[in-house]
Symmetry: C3
Subunit: 204 residues, 3 copies
């Protein structure tokens, strides 16, 4: 059991808020990759979500630095918040590249990777909502890690196919980077899950 100090429940509210915001960003990215008809406006919405996430992250850090007793170790609160922020940064980076590189017909593997990110962020939101229920929380972390392996497999396959079939090097550079950025988002979600597992271990 995490030793929950009641008056510090504000951190749990803030984790819930930042995770919900991340899930929203991931879902919009997946939507764009499946329906790129409105790409410029939709990507701009993801950038707004990312700015909102930055502010939430900043607020958590400020609160952390001004709070004496925290519900779990300060460095873990910091690492968890940073990792969640990093996932959203990569979600935004993927979206931004669509506009920057004029990828108006994203390859199917990109949508597949974004779908994995969506499920990971949903699992993450659930995990932070059951932080005090150690066993249940860990089961969600295990699922996040499994999804990272899955994303790794999908991204490797997509990159191998790119090198196999894409003869235009500039096109190859664009798509390869898109896959890599998407895969990095899943790595960061795994980082967040690893912090949560550490918190669980310390409290058991």
């Amino acid at each position: 059991m995490v030793r929950l100090i009641p008056r510090e429940t504000k951190f749990f509210r803030m984790f819930a808020e930042v995770s919900t915001n991340l899930t929203e960003g991931a879902r919009l990215l997946h939507h764009i990759l499946q329906n790129p008809s409105n790409i410029v406006a939709d990507v701009s919405k993801i950038q707004d979500i990312e700015h909102r996430g930055d502010e939430m992250t900043h607020n958590i850090f400020t609160t952390l630095n001004q709070t004496f007793i925290t519900p779990f170790d300060r460095e873990d609160i910091h690492a968890l918040t940073s990792s969640i922020d990093d996932v959203l940064d990569f979600v935004n980076a993927a979206a931004t590249r669509l506009v920057l590189y004029k990828i108006y017909n994203p390859p199917p593997a990109a949508a597949e990777l974004a779908q994995i990110i969506v499920v990971q962020t949903e699992e993450l939101a659930t995990a932070v909502s059951v932080l005090e229920k150690t066993q249940l929380m860990i089961s969600h972390c295990v699922e996040i890690n499994r999804l990272e392996n899955e994303a790794d497999r999908v991204s490797r396959k997509a990159i191998a196919e790119l090198f196999e079939h894409e003869k235009d090097p500039i096109q190859l550079i664009k798509f390869k980077e898109l896959y890599e950025v998407l895969e990095s988002a899943t790595d960061k979600a795994e980082d967040a899950a690893n912090v949560l597992e550490t918190v669980a271990l310390k409290s058991s």
Copy 2:
């Protein structure tokens, strides 16, 4: 107010020294990108500055590990020093790529990015020189963050134009990496500013 322990002012002297060295490196990089006539010799000077920076960084870490009472949290001294060192690493990496990739006519956007790095490192040097004046210091950190956003905008525009107009993929690879390395330097300056803001928050 940072609780300044007088006999630990050596850290402040060392921060001043390492920031001044960084500014020197950034200015030389900007000079090269505007005046590439003497590129090989000038890049070699930046590498010397980077080696000097490594030694200074190493000295701060040694002092830190041998000092019991520090002017602010040890992990923040460590993080600040590492970030300043990282900025110089990327300044050096950009310079080195000019020689390695034989970029003897650097694109104007590279000089523009280097100019942003110069101003950031000047702001950083000022910020560490007014560490005890919290409000003043924070205003310099805010400026460093604003400059990072500016660099982000410049670098994205430059990369988009590269994909738009550069038909030689190998040339595109070279310039894209140059822009990305320069942009990374500004990210690391932002990291340093974020550590300084954390220090200010903790002391308020």
Copy 3:
């Protein structure tokens, strides 16, 4: 002298185990790059070694979180373990790229870089086996840092030659990334050595 708490020697056993596993992976990578005749099966063996390394790393973190008194600072145990794991991740990433990018005739500079990684991992294994003998341990760390500089030189030269002579951009992308991944492995070995030096400094 590191203040060795006898009953925590399990950490030293675990460091030995994880370092030996890493050395095995590095040697196999070097073998493949010199003898790529059995590349698919050999790369699959490296992936097994990497999975084993992941489990060992996870075990160290679990033990760390459940141990009250540690032989040296917890964050240093964490950082050392992470760095060793990162070296193996990059060894595995290099091996995986051989299959993914169908590099069946790896360039000689890749084998040269892998050979440097082998020596670094041997030095690292020795360093963690003499953790209590500060001076001796530091001499191995110095050698690991020297080898990183050497790898940097080899990799820069190889990349410069690639830009000089390789006219096929897709081939250039493949080889450049292979060199960079190999060089990153040596950076992570240097990170591990830096943690060991920190541990030595704190105990002196």
